[in-house]
Symmetry: C2
């Protein structure tokens, strides 16, 4: 992905609602309802303004809806990745982080700790892969496993925000 974007913010403002919802329907993974809510807040004055609208959407969700947002994320280097069934965004991000080139030990550690993480928190480990590489992902997972559920819910949602910002950068020209 480039940071050049596909549309200017004024073109984004002018998009038919359905096109807006399609275009931004996965800036939060598998969450077109966020795009629908944000579409109704247009016009935006800048891409930053648009990003803040998505962050605001996330912040206003109650605990169970936040958990649902995390639930929609795939396991890093998990079954969907193996089957080539990730969303394009996740596929690119996991690849750029180097997750398709892990050693056998790294892959085993990720699988084991992903499992422990889901056992403990009942939602998957979410991290902004584009800001990390294999080593920091594995390390982050080990550290975050020690958190309590409340902290992890907050941390996970913060990672979703970072992912969302980067995905928007791929779609909207910088002002």
């Amino acid at each position: 992905m480039t940071s050049k974007g596909i549309l200017s913010i004024s073109e984004v403002n002018a998009l038919p609602e359905e096109n807006f919802e399609w275009l931004f329907g996965n800036v939060i993974e598998h969450c077109p309802e966020a795009a629908a809510a944000v579409a109704a807040k247009r016009p935006f004055s800048s891409s930053e303004d648009l990003k803040k609208a998505f962050e605001n959407y996330l912040e206003k969700l109650d605990t169970s809806d936040k958990e649902m947002v995390l639930q929609k994320h795939p396991d890093l280097a998990g079954k969907l990745a193996d089957e080539g069934k990730l969303t394009i965004e996740s596929q690119n991000e996991q690849k750029l982080a180097g997750l398709d080139g892990m050693t056998k030990d790294e892959a085993q550690s990720l699988t084991n700790n992903n499992y422990l993480y889901k056992e403990k928190f009942r939602f998957p480990f979410v991290i902004c892969a584009r800001e990390n590489k294999v080593h920091s992902i594995l390390q982050g997972l080990e550290i975050r496993l020690k958190n309590n559920r409340e902290t992890e819910l907050k941390t996970g949602i913060n990672e979703v925000k970072k992912i969302c910002r980067i995905r928007i950068d791929d779609l909207v020209w910088h002002d």
Copy 2:
């Protein structure tokens, strides 16, 4: 989705390669490699010309790659749909076909026959949901279960072509 599209064909021709690959990365479900191949064939004179390039890509695949294309499709009203993890395109298409409003009997019939279909052909049942409703999908599945594998591979790929055309209509303005 609307048929209005997001970009004109000349804007599509001018897109940075990565943006093109993202935008068209799922016109064939989970097949960004098709978009990468088609990106290299630009410029296109019309959206029809672009559609033909994707069809041509599909036609030139060998048997095992065609099977792989079908493999990447989700089961209709299957596990990924239940979990809210379909691609946006599939989610919209299945909803428009009415698959989220089936009776219990219809859902059971679809699940059973999807299973039999995959047992027989070793790839999932693919049908252009946007050209069908629940009844014609269930009927199509029963009829197609009787085909041989060669016919079904061809039929499935033809359905992929129809899906691809409709998804492109959602992205590119009519000329």
